[in-house]
Structure formats: structure tokens, C-alpha cells
Symmetry: C2
Subunit: 668 residues, 2 copies
């Protein structure tokens, strides 16, 4: 790193990239005072800030030491903020911040930018892959139903449930971005943040606390950058081998239904790796649809004999997955125990604090309390792992209310964005302590900084069963790409989508297009949706089953290829689904493609995400690409291929060492 300064300003560069440019007329740093209000309704937040002060830190002094530079930034002649600038042992640029006045609870930093720069990341982003030209509030929440104020779905969701959301709402925000200039920039904070990429000459990063530090590093290539970043944030373990054996079928309704559905699926030629029964612990009906009984233990009434059947299934090569989240249902046994032990978040006076999840109320297990973590790990261990579950959906994590009181004394506003990380860590450790990391799969939708090392897989959350770009099939592509650039290289989605509300019902075509995409993601898993009867299901008709059977065979056929990509992710942080520019950095068009991806190094996938579309226009970076269905070779550029249902637009690289395996996709 390099720091130069004179009387009027300073400049920090690292590995050839200008990071900060500060002058009295264009300060790079501001402090301020604001009063926030967070109004939560079932995971949807109405967040307001009454900003009373925003103060430019114009004056500064620099002290050069052997190991670092210390910049003191001043206000009214008084030191206000200390920035310690140094290079870490790993040669990353780090700037640690210390405020000299506790009044300040707002912080802005302007990272030097160029007008043509493109940026990505900020966690899992569903509407935009390239983030330039917009700002991104970073606060873990429901992702929104519709997510676009111009759609009727969004309007209905807003009016009925305050749940419409907007382009930036996400279960997984992270205050980190990646630039097309091959650097990453991370602000270490779990406070509410807002990264603003609308300015020509700087990116303005805001957070509602003084961040611990800024971390910045650059590399010569994107793959190297991925390794660098995952050295920082952690890497996902490889997937259990059984996952590659086929689809994980989302089934509900009890032991008999599950066994029957498995038999029927096999009969139809569907390759089944497992079944995922989210209602393994019983159900609860609400107006939203079927909900689950959040008291994490086998429900023998709904799943009789599951304690034995689960092992028989495993012997037949079918794994059984369940469901858990970090909340316990009021007045049920686990809640009562946690309440008795003091393991739940409370009101400020210590009295009970319940969160409204839509017609039922739950306690929040307080993961800042090590004893509560140990208790929850025990539950996972005994009720789930020891019972025989081979995985689960680790749902939620976004609902920590800002006005509850926590064991560690930290403000819930600061803990909120950290909660998904804490939740992942509890699950990961429960599995690791059972020695099952290589055999158990769990997947989460919520996320945040550091989750990479704990959460085995993401799923893209609750898409609506629609074709709209901001909340449907298409949206899971930028979600996987942005999360992948953050180091979460294993993502997947509910085949067919989930949210079945406001007149939206899943069509056969949507289910099929989604299944076609899922065959080219690290995990195939179906979901019935919140109102199963309104949705087309994988077993609604024989044609759908036959189509899914083909897709699962393709997926299974690709097992060695996918496994190798997954291992690359586990060892080098290289995401399984990759943006085109990952391997084609000279291709300027590649930086603007948000609905296609490379699946591993050598497959290019361009999912059909428009209803009724059977001819697909898509972009190929310069290379020799073989269209798997026609065998036709393309050399790059915008091309058009036939894409009837059953033939998703997929290409393999002719030079691939796996070319033979990949060419065989067309056999199915």
C-alpha cells in the first residue's frame, strides 16, 4: 500500500488501485448523528433515519510509523476519528477506525471510483447483478413478494401484508463489493449499512455505527480474487456425496405419503437423492397456508414409524431431510425449556419477548448466550442428527427485532445483521461436533459476513411462482452470482418457486423451466410452495415427471464434473455458478450479463425465464462453444438457439477436458 499526502489532502493506493482520495474540498470521510426507527412486520422492515448531523472531516494530520500510518481526522479543530492504515501480514490494505466521540453513530466513506467502473456483490442481490447506478441498503429481511413497485403482485403484497419489498431487499446482505477492476472492498460492521454506487467518482459507503475497519485487496485475476476473499470470509465445505445422486424431493404430509411419493418417483425414472419433509415436526394451519410446528422434534403423529423408516430409506439410498429455524413456538416444550433457562431474547425489563410470524408467536433463541447456543446444538444433535436426519433447511435468521435485549449486552440493532452468521455457526458446529460435516447438508436463505465458513449451502429464498424478473425464476440467477462472488459458491433454489399468493399459481411450464435450470446448479431440490394445492407439482402429471426424470439424470450424469467444481469452491472459493467475466475478463459484454452463468469452468447456461419462450437469444464470450442439443459450434457473441421445453440452452466448451462427459448430456 502507499499513502501520499500534503497540506491539502491524502491519497491511499493499494496494488495500483486508488482507494481513498481525501481533500478539504472533497472529503472522503464524514461522521454524523442520526436517530433510526426500525418498524418490523413479519420480517419486513420500515426503516427510517432522522439524520440530524452530517459532518465532513476536512482537516487531518498523518503520523508515519514503522508499521502503519495514523490519520487523525478533525472537526472544529478537534480530533474526531482515527484511521490506522496498514498492510496486513497477507498484504491486504486495512484501515481501522476509532471514533473519539461516542455521539457519532453515522459514518460515510467514499471509495475512489471511475465513471466506467462496475461493481457486484453486497451479499445476495436478486434484482441487480451489476450494482452501479443504484444504492443498496444492507439489512437482513424478508426479500419481498414482487419486489418491484410497478407490479400488481408487489402492490397487493404491500397493501395486504407490508410485504412487497423492493429491488434491494434481501435475506443476505453483506457490506462487501467486488469491482471489475479486480479488487474487493469490505466494511467490517454489522450495523445497518447503505452502499451507494450512484456517483461518478466515488462509491459512498454508509453505516449506522463506526465500522471496525475497511479491508481492501486486489488481484491479477478474478479466480485469485475469489481465493483471497474466501481466505478472509471462509469457505463452504464440499457437499456430501449423496447429494449428487439426484433431486431432493420436497414432500409433506406424513410417512405414508412420503414413501408412496418416493416409490412413484422412482417408478417414473426420477433420480432421487433424498426427500425433504419440512413438516417432520408437525404442522400448523394459518391463512398464509400450511405452517410448521416450530418445536424441533419428530412428530410421531404425522410421521409414524419415521424413526425406523428413516434408516430403511437410507439403506435404499434415499436421505431424509427436515427443517429447523432459530425460533421456538410459544408454550411448546422447547419454548418452555428455553424460557425457564433464560435462553431467549427478552424485553429490556427481562420479561418475555415474542416475535409475530403471522398468526403465531415465537421466542428468539439468544445466540449471544453461549449456553443457549450449546442448548440449541444439543437439540440439533439429539432431535435431528441422532434421529437420523441427513440435512435440513436452516430457515430464517432475519427477524431479530431491534428492540429486544440480548445476553451479551450488545444492541439488537447491531446484532441483527450478524444473526444469520450466528445461526449458521450453531448448525455448522452441531454437525461438525457430530463428525458429520461430510454427510449432512443444511441450507439457509439468510446470510451475512463470515457465513461462508459455516453455511453449507444457500438457497435463494422464497421466490414467487411467477415469471417476473424481480421475484421469480430469473431472480435466482443474479442471486447465485452475487452470493457466489461473496464466497458462497453453492447456492440453489426451490424448483418452481415458493410464494403462492395474490392470485399467483405455479404453472407447469414454470415448474419445468425451473427444473431445467436446477439441473445445472449444485443442488436440485423441489418445493411444494406455501399453498401446494394451487401449484403445479413435479408429480401433477406423467409428462412433468418424465421431464424431471430427464433433468435428474442429466444432473446425476454430471456428478464428477459438479463434484470437481464443488471441491474447487471448498478449496479455492471458486463459485460453482460463475459470472461470465470470471473466466473472460477481457470481454466487456460479459460484465453486463446477469441471467446467464458458467456452471463450473466449461458449461455455459442461459436459462429460459420468459413464459412461452422457445427460441433463446444469449451471449457467448469468445471461445468454442458446443450447443449440447444440436451439437452446433459457436465462436462467441450474441446467438440464438432453439429452446423448447426440455432443451434448456446449455453449451460446453469444446476444449474442456470433460468435453466427452458434457457432450453426453444430449443423450438424456
Amino acid at each position: 500500500m502507499e499513502l501520499t499526502y500534503d497540506n491539502t489532502g491524502f491519497k491511499i493506493t493499494h496494488k495500483g488501485r486508488v482507494v481513498l482520495k481525501h481533500s478539504e474540498t472533497n472529503p472522503a470521510l464524514y461522521l454524523g448523528v442520526g436517530q433510526s426507527t426500525f418498524d418490523m412486520y413479519r420480517g419486513n422492515f420500515d426503516i427510517k433515519d432522522y439524520l440530524t448531523e452530517r459532518l465532513p472531516l476536512k482537516q487531518f494530520t498523518v503520523t508515519e510509523n514503522a508499521e502503519d500510518y495514523v490519520i487523525t481526522l478533525s472537526l472544529n479543530g478537534q480530533g474526531a476519528l482515527i484511521a490506522r492504515v496498514f498492510e496486513t501480514a497477507e498484504q491486504r490494505l486495512k484501515i481501522e477506525f476509532t471514533s473519539l466521540d461516542e455521539t457519532y453513530n453515522r459514518f460515510w466513506i467514499r471509495i475512489a471510483a471511475t465513471e466506467d467502473e462496475l461493481v457486484y456483490g453486497c451479499g445476495e442481490q436478486l434484482s441487480y447483478f451489476n450494482l452501479r447506478g443504484k444504492n443498496f441498503p444492507l439489512w437482513s429481511s424478508e426479500p419481498g413478494v414482487g419486489r418491484n413497485k410497478n407490479t400488481y403482485t408487489t402492490w397487493q403484497a404491500d397493501v395486504k401484508d407490508k410485504a412487497g419489498g423492493d429491488y434491494y431487499n434481501t435475506n443476505y446482505p453483506q457490506p462487501t463489493f467486488v469491482s471489475d477492476k479486480k479488487y474487493f472492498c469490505h466494511l467490517e460492521t454489522t450495523a445497518y449499512a447503505d452502499f451507494d454506487f450512484t456517483h461518478a467518482l466515488y462509491h459512498e459507503l454508509q453505516c449506522w455505527s463506526i465500522p471496525e475497519y475497511l479491508l481492501f485487496d486486489a488481484e491479477a485475476s478474478f479466480p485469485e480474487l475469489m481465493t483471497n476473499m474466501t481466505d478472509v470470509f471462509g469457505r463452504q465445505p464440499a457437499l456430501p456425496e449423496w447429494v449428487y445422486n439426484g433431486v431432493i424431493l420436497g414432500i409433506q404430509g406424513g410417512t405414508e405419503i412420503t414413501l408412496n411419493k418416493i416409490a412413484a418417483a422412482k417408478e417414473a425414472g426420477i433420480e432421487v437423492a433424498g426427500v425433504w419433509c419440512q413438516d417432520w415436526q408437525g404442522i400448523k394451519m394459518t391463512s398464509f397456508g400450511k405452517r410448521l410446528q416450530w418445536d424441533w422434534q419428530w412428530n410421531a403423529a404425522l410421521y409414524p414409524e419415521l424413526d425406523t423408516k428413516i434408516h430403511q430409506l437410507k439403506e435404499q439410498g434415499i436421505r431424509f431431510l427436515g427443517y429447523i429455524n432459530p425460533y421456538v413456538l410459544q408454550d411448546f416444550p422447547l419454548y418452555n425449556e428455553a424460557q425457564r433457562q433464560g435462553y431467549l431474547a427478552t424485553q429490556s425489563d427481562g420479561s418475555k419477548y415474542l416475535v409475530d410470524f403471522g398468526e403465531f408467536y415465537c421466542g428468539v433463541v439468544d445466540f449471544t448466550n453461549p449456553d443457549a447456543c450449546a442448548w440449541y446444538k444439543d437439540i440439533i444433535r439429539h432431535n435431528m442428527i441422532d434421529f437420523g436426519l441427513d440435512g435440513w433447511m436452516g430457515d430464517f435468521g432475519e427477524y431479530l427485532p431491534t428492540d429486544c435485549t440480548l445476553f451479551n449486552g450488545e444492541s439488537a440493532e447491531i446484532e441483527h445483521n450478524k444473526w444469520p452468521y450466528r445461526w449458521a455457526k450453531v448448525q455448522h458446529e452441531a454437525i461438525a461436533e457430530a463428525g458429520k460435516t461430510n454427510d449432512i447438508l443444511f441450507f439457509m436463505r439468510a446470510g451475512g459476513t463470515g457465513i461462508q465458513g459455516y453455511c453449507h449451502a444457500l438457497w435463494a429464498g422464497d421466490q414467487s411462482v411467477i415469471w417476473e424478473k424481480d421475484d421469480g425464476l430469473a431472480s435466482v440467477i443474479p442471486a447465485a452470482l452475487s452470493a457466489g462472488l461473496m464466497g458462497n459458491g453453492i447456492s440453489h433454489s426451490d424448483i418452481g418457486g415458493y410464494t403462492t399468493l395474490h392470485g399467483n399459481r405455479r404453472s407447469k411450464e414454470l415448474f419445468q423451466r425451473w427444473a431445467e435450470m436446477a439441473a445445472f446448479t449444485p443442488i436440485m431440490r423441489s418445493h411444494e410452495g406455501n399453498r401446494p394445492d394451487d401449484n403445479h407439482q413435479y408429480d401433477t402429471d406423467a409428462e412433468t415427471m418424465a421431464h424431471l426424470a430427464r433433468m435428474t439424470k442429466i444432473y446425476k450424469h454430471l456428478k464428477p464434473y459438479i463434484r470437481s467444481a464443488v471441491i474447487e469452491n471448498a478449496t479455492k472459493g471458486m463459485p460453482v455458478q460463475r459470472p461470465l467475466f470470471m473466466h473472460y475478463e477481457q470481454d466487456s459484454e460479459a460484465y453486463h450479463i446477469q441471467y446467464q452463468y458458467l456452471f463450473g469452468r466449461d458449461l455455459l447456461v442461459a436459462p429460459v425465464y420468459n413464459q412461452g419462450e422457445t427460441v433463446k437469444q444469449l451471449y457467448l464470450p469468445e471461445d468454442e462453444w458446443v450447443h449440447v442439443w444440436s451439437g452446433k459450434v459457436f465462436m462467441g457473441g450474441w446467438v440464438e438457439v432453439d429452446a423448447p421445453v426440455g432443451q434448456p440452452p446449455v453449451f460446453y466448451r469444446k476444449q474442456s477436458k470433460d468435453a466427452r462427459l458434457l457432450a453426453e448430456i444430449s443423450r438424456y
Copy 2:
């Protein structure tokens, strides 16, 4: 006034009211820097502010002089703002502001408040009468279609035309509020402002420039406060005598249609004071509906013989009203002349600037150019007054774009909110110079500070033809009350509403309820709406005509009573439609009634604004009230009366000196 101070703060009081309380820890004044963007689409503005600095002016010094106090507020030890505090000759508190640094373009001042205080005004407000608990951006614009993000009308208007609006959108904003503590507070600025009444202990007034001054005064009663305020802002002249003779019928379609409709109306017993033919200068069809040919001269093709008929009508006691606005239609004669003479606002390079009014484009007459004003006054004089028009709708005034260049060199962002005032002044002077102030009526929807002295009457703008509270019949009541408290005591509305879009069509019941209310406003005037064929009209059936006939007879019967209220407005600034607390200041409930009003001193009107409602619950302040239809006497409180169509809930004060006249309402 009184100013006390010590080392830590100062306090300004006036007539027993604390106005400002300043201390280092709770500063009353802030300066800042922001970059605004105003994105206008057909009068709807998307306004954003990128606030880069907000600086508390903590330090201060006070200099006491014979005539004033001079407070110097400092920042970083440097003087930033001078506040000259003094009492005017009229014993009002005035605080003049001078910024010592031109960088600052944002200003905040906190007016001391109490938690229970209620406030009103801010121009014409359609959704809220009591403004406490909300903030009110003050920027003249289209008022919005629907005006409530929870309504389907609003959503459609937003998605199709960016036109849905919100609770604060108004044609007439004014940076002035009135408190239930019987004071008014005015910030003299035409910049974008935002008055925030959400805080317990202060009202925070923001504007995007340094305001010239703050003006504050208090009185012992609300009527005295009205006189005080209208001494400052001006008063409307009395209405021409002919107005009281009946309804002004909104008619379109040419001379023959007009004459036929007048004859039919008279035949049906409708008292007709005039006809208002907005298409007197010809029409233009667009997808929105019929629009007018904005080239302000008689269209002989559509209105043959109008030059003679207009005088014949006048002899028969029927006045003819037209239409004008401050824009000229591209490529038509007036536009060409204005363009040649340099009377139109331009681009910054002097080239032509056109405003999109929805499928047609117009030049903006530059009222900062005295020659342009003189030219437009001449057009009004010759083409309208001399032609024989006895009035007109003086439409628009809200569309001054912020990026045009004006003759006086002032920023269009600063001129924007002043434009309605300039537009009113041109019309008023054209009439006054013709010696016709007592005989010509014009009415505007746009407004701003000082329009009181120039605009003869307001109308409440373009309501949708619906029952919804934010944009329908109900909304014109708070509109009249808030505008009245600003000194615009003569307001009225389009009987039946105007905007006929998004599936909304005017029903018979809505027309009738609106006509019933209009009989108890200073002016009765109907409008066909933007899509006349979709609306129920006054002459759609005999029953509607008979109902309207009764209402016009009641209105005409009240002529002496209304005239006397109008004169009180012209001489003392006492609005004709008054909030209940105007005369019942001890009644705490009266301050919360926004859908009822006193019509003059002695009539209480509670319009039916809900579809299908035939029994009305309403509030009466403590007094002896006689229900006009039943003769039943009420002593105050919440009461219930029958209110079938034809019997609007109206009460007169038994002690009224006009009791006999008022009792006779029931004869009709």
C-alpha cells in the same frame, strides 16, 4: 418580543409563546449542503436530495442594539449565519437570516413546540387538516391521482403516468402554519421546503436555500389571527354579485350546445349564474380525454356567434366564463409571437424550452420578464375581457421546470413555488387595470405565499370522481379549511369531481352529494370531467336536474348570508368555510374535525362523503344547533341525523341574527 440568553443558550418568546430555544446540546438552527434532483413528468415531481452536510450551529454570540438583537451563529469557530431578531412596526416577531458562506443551501430551524400542540395550514392540504405527526414537503405540483399508495387508483396512476401522488402533494403549498396556540409562523422562501411536525418538542422547518426571514405572531383569538395573517399575505376581493345567482354550469361543445343546455337547465328550475366553457378557444383530443387548444382566443369554429351571444346572455343574467393558463401551445400564433419577442423561458443556451403536457408541448410565458407580463395581460384584456368573458379558470402554474432559464436570472428551482403567485398577479392586474375587479371572477388551483391578495378564488383542483378520502369528495373539505387558514377564504370545487381514469366513473350519487356540499360553499360550479361520456352529468336525468335545481335555489336563497361572509373575508380575512375551532376555541374535539365546517358564522355543514350513507354521525360544538330539515335542536356533542340524498346534514345556530333566513332552507 423577548430574547434571553446566557453562555449556554438563548430563548426567544413573543406574546407569551416560546418561539426558539437554542442550546449547544439542542441547537435550533442547522446549515447544510445538498444536491437536489427534480425529475418532472407532467407536473409530477420525483424529488431527491443528496445531503452531504448537515451542521449544527452550536456556538453563538448575541449583540443587543436599540432596534434589534443580532445573533451570530458559528461553526468551527467561524461565523456562519446572522439572525437579526426584532419586532416589526406591527409588533410581529421577525428574524432575518443572512448566511456568511454561499456554500450552504440547506437550512433547518426548530420552532419550539409542546407535545399536545396541533398545527394546520401549509397551503392547501387535501389529506390532513391537523398536520401534527407528519412531514409536509412543500412544492407546487399536480396533487396526484389517488394520493394514497394503498389504493388501486393510486397504483395504476403511478404505474401508468407516475401520477399517483401522496398525502402531501398539492397545487398550493405555503411555508406557513397555524397553531392551536393561536399563533402563525411563516418562513419566507420559495425554495423547496419540508415542514416536519413529527417531533414532540419542536417543529423542524427545512428549506433548500437560506430563507429571507421567519415571521411569527400570535393573537388572543383565531378571528384576530386571520386578520393579522391577511394583513401580511393579502386578502381576496369580494365576489362579483352575479356569482350568487346560482350555479356556474361547466359546459363544452360549442355555442349551440351551450345555449340549449342553458335553456334546458332553466326549464328544469336550475338557477344559473353563468356558464363556464373551458373549450371556448377550441379543443384538442388526446388519450387522456379532451384537452384544450392553448392559444388564448375565441374559436369561432367551435363557438360561432359567441361574440354576439355572449352579450345577449349577459342581458339574460347569464355570464360566460372561459379558460386560460400560463402556457402557449407550440406553433400556434401566441406561441410564435412570444417566441419571437423572447417572452418564453428558455434552455440555458437560450434555445427553446418546451414542457410536455401529455401529448402536446408548450412554451412557458416568463413572468419574471415585465414585458412578458404586460404582453400576457394584454392578451387577457383584449382576447378575454374585451371579448366579454366575465371570468375564467386560471389553470396550472405548478409546472415550472427547474432546469429552464428565466429572464430575471433567478434559478427556476427558486422561482418554481413563486410561479402561481406570479400567475395570479398577472390575471388580477389585467382585471384591475380593466376596472373589472368587482365583476370578473377567476379561480386557480395553484397557489403560494402572497396569492391571497391576487387570486379571487381557489378551486380544489382535480379530484377523482370517487369516494376515497384522499382524492374525492371528502378531500376538498380539508383543502378549503387549510387554504382558508392561510387567508384564502373563498374556495370551491368541481361538482362531481374531475379525473375520470383507471376505471373510475362518476356516479349519480356522487354527483348529488357533491352538489349538496357545493350549495354550502361560496361558489357553485360543475365540471363534466376529463372524460364526460364516462360520467354522470347534472343533466343526465330529470331527477338529477331537479336535485341540482333545489340546491341552486338554496344557494341563491342564502345570497345575503354568503355575501356578508364573503365581505368579512375581503375585509378581515375571515374564511367563508371555517374550521369548528374558529369560533369554538375551548372545544378540544373541534380541533380534530376535518370533514365538517362552519359555513359563515352560523351554519354548520357535515357533508356526506361516504357512498350509500343515509344516516350521518357528526360533531356539534356546544351551542344551540337547529337541524335544518327536521327542525330538531341539538346542544352539541356527537349526534346522528338522517341524511338521505337531498337532505345534506346542515345546522344553523338558533341564536343567529339570520336564523329566519337560515330556517327557510327547509322550504326548498
